[in-house]
């Protein structure tokens, strides 16, 4: 017995590991797979045991067990139910026991309303035809970047207007910023491969770009965050676009913190910082304390890349997001990326993740509307992210006004993530959010990229199906087309903000 529970720091286990000893063949596959030391084999007793207190419910053991001997179950809380305290008891105890604030990962898990689920899509009936996407052309190609209000031509009919740089997407879905550091090498590899195959982009996140991944040039967006890790000219040059990260949905107003133990040799090389040292991203960019400073940074990047790349500014969805967005556009951003509060993270203080920010649906609606009112919507493309779970979320986002969406958690789920929310521990049993070279092997880039490609292709097909149902064969005709959305179960005010009619009207 290598470990013994101690009541001093006890909180009830979240999961029960139920093991059918009659089926168990002692192959010990589960023991090898548990990266949280919750499973062990006792040679003397020839038995596999569990420490449930250490189980995080990642389900890796159950997935790998060849004889289905393992069932992971959520354990009932032992406490007497109390509505207002329920969900706070253990957190409070942990703070008291360890003297630190809990860090969590993945997206906000509180039951705030999901507006996507209150919006319904339209379909054509009789008066205009629905289109069969399997046999008729159906276009999802999307260009992101600043567009002029109109184009001018030379006498010979060729273009006089010089368009500013754009990025071209075959489908309006990109992989959102997830850094090498938060994610394992193989996951980045998978995202890059999939983006390349499908014709979209993945985002390096703030951790720099490993030399090996320069091969994804043409399908990568590079991020410049406050920590400026691994940011230098060659890095900027690889990106098809450069994203300035001001905020992130899961932790608006909070910097990043990659603990020293995750700063492995390759991470250290990629981020260009010493191994084992904390990688601290300050909360703000310390050269951006005001909107004109943002303009300064945007143009610094444009100057550094000689105006060859669109600049994305990523902001978290917060209360006055519309006004902020307007300022960002006027500061010279070519693309604005808005991240809703359900967006994922590798690590965020729980209090921040669960309480700061607003839903992407509302933020997107107000930003799009505000930019249109100001007549500057054409000057910028909008990327919505943070809680896009399915293809119809994408359709709804575009109908609300997005040009494209970012998916993060959805991509990770596709390659194995079970949302056990342990990214911050670096022990991801699925090999996704870990730098342990042994664990990260669990993601096979061939399999994972295949799954991502499947996901994107299927979503694309689903989007086409829905567009076909609406009688639209080009994605630009869906953009901002809020008439194709109707609300169910929303208040007047919600509908006003979303700019949509109630179902039936």
């Amino acid at each position: 017995m290598k470990w013994m529970k101690n009541a001093k720091t006890y909180t009830p286990p979240d999961f029960a590991v139920i093991r059918d000893d009659e089926r168990c063949i002692r192959c010990k596959a589960c023991v090898e797979q548990c990266s949280f030391d919750a499973t062990f084999y006792d040679e003397d007793l020839d038995k596999v045991w569990n420490w449930e207190a250490k189980c995080v419910g990642c389900d890796r053991c159950a997935a790998i067990c060849p004889v289905e001997a393992i069932t992971i179950k959520k354990r009932e809380t032992p406490y007497r139910y109390n509505y207002s305290w329920y969900g706070h008891i253990d957190g409070l105890k942990k703070r008291a026991a360890f003297g630190g604030t809990p860090v969590v990962s993945m997206g906000n898990d509180k039951p705030y309303p999901v507006y996507w689920d209150h919006m319904l899509l339209n379909a054509s009936q009789v008066t205009n035809p629905s289109i069969d996407p399997l046999r008729e052309p159906m276009e999802l190609k999307t260009f992101l970047g600043r567009k002029p209000d109109f184009v001018e031509f030379k006498k010979d009919g060729s273009l006089k207007t010089k368009l500013t740089p754009q990025i071209e997407l075959n489908i309006p879905i990109m992989f959102s910023a997830m850094s090498y550091g938060a994610l394992s090498y193989n996951v980045i590899e998978s995202l890059g491969k999939a983006a390349q195959e499908v014709g979209t982009f993945y985002n390096s996140g703030e951790g720099g770009l490993n030399k090996d991944h320069y091969k994804f040039k043409g399908n990568v967006i590079v991020q410049v965050a406050s920590g400026r890790f691994g940011v230098h000219k060659p890095y900027l040059d690889v990106g098809s676009a450069i994203e300035i990260k001001i905020g992130q949905g899961a932790k608006p107003g909070i910097g990043g913190h990659l603990p020293g133990e995750k700063v492995s040799q390759t991470i250290s090389e990629t981020r260009m910082m010493p191994e084992g040292s904390d990688a601290i991203s300050p909360a703000p960019h310390h050269d951006v304390y005001s909107i004109e400073d943002l303009r300064q940074l945007i143009y610094a990047l444009k100057e550094a890349t000689e105006y060859t790349k669109p600049i994305i500014v990523k902001i978290a969805a917060v209360h006055n997001v519309a006004a902020i967005a307007s300022g960002v556009v006027r500061a010279g951003a070519d693309i604005i990326s808005i991240d809703g509060f359900k967006g994922g993270t590798g690590a965020s203080p729980q209090i921040v993740r669960d309480n700061i920010g607003i839903p992407i649906e509302l933020a997107l609606a107000v930003v799009d509307e505000r930019l249109r009112q100001e007549g500057i919507r054409q000057q910028v493309s909008i990327i919505a992210g943070g809680g896009i779970r399915c293809s119809t979320d994408v359709v709804k986002a575009i109908a609300l006004g997005a040009d494209a969406v970012y998916i993060g958690t959805a991509a990770l789920l596709a390659i194995g993530c079970t949302m056990c929310q342990q990214c911050h521990t670096g022990k991801c049993a699925w090999g996704i959010s870990t730098q342990d070279p042994h664990l990260s092997k669990r993601v096979n880039p061939d399999i994972a990229s295949e799954k991502l490609i499947n996901l994107l292709n299927v979503w694309a097909l689903e989007i086409k199906e829905v567009m076909g149902a609406m009688g639209i064969n080009s994605i630009e005709s869906l953009k901002g087309n809020r008439l194709n959305l109707r609300a169910v179960g929303l208040s007047e005010k919600d509908m006003e903000i979303l700019g949509i009619l109630p179902a039936g009207e």
């Binding site: 054509s124 008066t127 205009n128 035809p129 289109i131 008729e136 052309p137 276009e139 190609k141 260009f143 970047g145 567009k147 002029p148 209000d149 109109f150 184009v151 001018e152 031509f153 009919g157 060729s158 273009l159 207007t161 368009l163 754009q166 249109r372 009112q373 007549g375 919507r377 054409q378 109908a399 006004g401 609406m470 009688g471 639209i472 064969n473 080009s474 630009e476 005709s477 869906l478 953009k479 901002g480 087309n481 809020r482 008439l483 194709n484 006003e496 700019g499 949509i500 009619l501 009207e505």
Partner: protein
């Protein structure tokens, strides 16, 4: 919230005498009447170009009023804003049906009386002024609706079968070098006279068969440029888009099909570099002006007409030629009915506009 749009099926027809010959409205009425099956008696209309040669310098406002009060309110407003050269009730025949009243005003913008008013209509450009005035009346004055506002042209439309509308407005008595007509099959807002086609703004007039599935996207795009879509129908976005793109952005009319019915990416990818650049830029910049969904339209403009299909040809359009006259309609029969021996008949390709214009000489004569 004015978000809903009209849904309707339709028939369309139109022709232009490119030599500038003026012909009466009898032919166009016959032509559109032939396609009775395409309408349901709940809307029809005509646009005629070259009908007011005596007032060709002036904007001809066709205004429809629900009642006398709305007329008074409107005229008070017009008096403030415009020099009215001439005005009066439009000639109509008596019909046994409740109908709005129609007036025509030949006007030109005038110096504004107050500074505040000058600022209200920021632009001093006459066309822009008329557009804003039209938008203002349609949106702000109850019971008044500007049917058309171009020069030397007019729109006649209402609830009824084409023959009823033709009869009401005595269109047999007008002489025009170009006519378009519409027969409507609405499923929404059927009782509203303003909802009939053609839709018109300045010299633009649009008759439309089909439905613009991208209406929501087009509408919000236009709203960004201060157009107000008030008429509860998708067709008006076409008129406004034309106004924005051709008049304001100075985009060549010949290429409007490349925006409205933009080529598919698969086709663009096959093009030569220059064309590829051109079309890619258009789709990038004017993506929100792409007309999606099934449509065929006939658009009248100063000195010409064009017909256009959606890019995968979900609605019908036939074009024909006889001498110097070019015809377009939803069905060939509608043309054959008024001209027996056509020189040429063809089906326009999807997304490729058919444009017919007055000869230069004729243009000089008419305008």
């Amino acid at each position: 919230m004015e978000l809903s749009k009209d849904i309707s099926g339709c028939g369309i027809a139109g022709f232009i005498n490119t030599d500038g010959t003026l012909t009466s409205g009898i032919d166009i009425a016959d032509s559109i009447n032939l396609m009775k099956e395409r309408g349901n008696g709940l809307g029809a209309g005509f646009a005629a170009y070259g009908i007011y040669p005596d007032f060709k310098e002036y904007y001809a406002l066709h205004i429809m009023y629900d009642n006398e009060q709305s007329r008074k309110n409107t005229e008070a407003y017009l008096d403030r804003k415009l020099h009215i050269e001439q005005h009066g009730g439009m000639p109509t025949r008596i019909i046994n049906k409740k109908r709005p009243i129609f007036f025509v005003y030949f006007v030109e913008p005038r110096e504004q009386s107050t500074k505040a008013e000058s600022e209200e209509f920021q632009s001093r450009e006459a066309d822009e002024f008329i557009v804003k005035l039209t938008m203002h009346i349609n949106e702000k004055i109850d019971g008044a609706y500007v049917v058309s506002s171009g020069k030397n042209m007019g729109v006649f439309k209402g609830v009824g079968y084409p023959e009823e509308i033709a009869n009401l407005f005595r269109i047999d008595e007008y002489k025009a070098y170009m006519w378009t007509a519409h027969n409507r099959f609405p499923t929404n807002t059927p009782g509203w006279w303003g909802g009939a086609h053609p839709f018109s703004l300045l010299d633009w007039s649009v008759v439309h068969n089909g439905e613009i599935s991208s209406y929501g996207a087009n509408k919000r795009y236009l709203e960004m440029y201060r157009y107000k879509c008030t008429q509860k129908t998708d067709t008006e976005v076409i008129a406004y888009l034309l106004d924005l793109i051709i008049r304001k952005h100075k985009f060549p009319l010949e290429k409007i099909g490349d925006i409205f019915s933009a080529p598919l990416w698969s086709e663009i990818n096959k093009m030569q570099k220059k064309d590829k650049e051109f079309h890619t830029a258009l789709r990038m910049v004017y993506g929100s002006a792409l007309l999606n969904g099934p449509f065929s339209i006939l658009v009248g403009f100063k000195g010409g007409i064009f017909g256009l299909n959606d890019r995968i040809k979900l609605r019908p359009l036939v074009a024909a030629k006889k001498g110097s006259t070019v015809y377009m309609a939803s069905e060939e029969s509608a043309i054959r009915y008024i001209v027996k021996d056509l020189d040429e008949v063809w089906m326009p390709d999807a997304g490729k506009p058919v444009i017919a214009k007055l000869t230069e000489e004729a243009y000089k004569n008419v305008y």
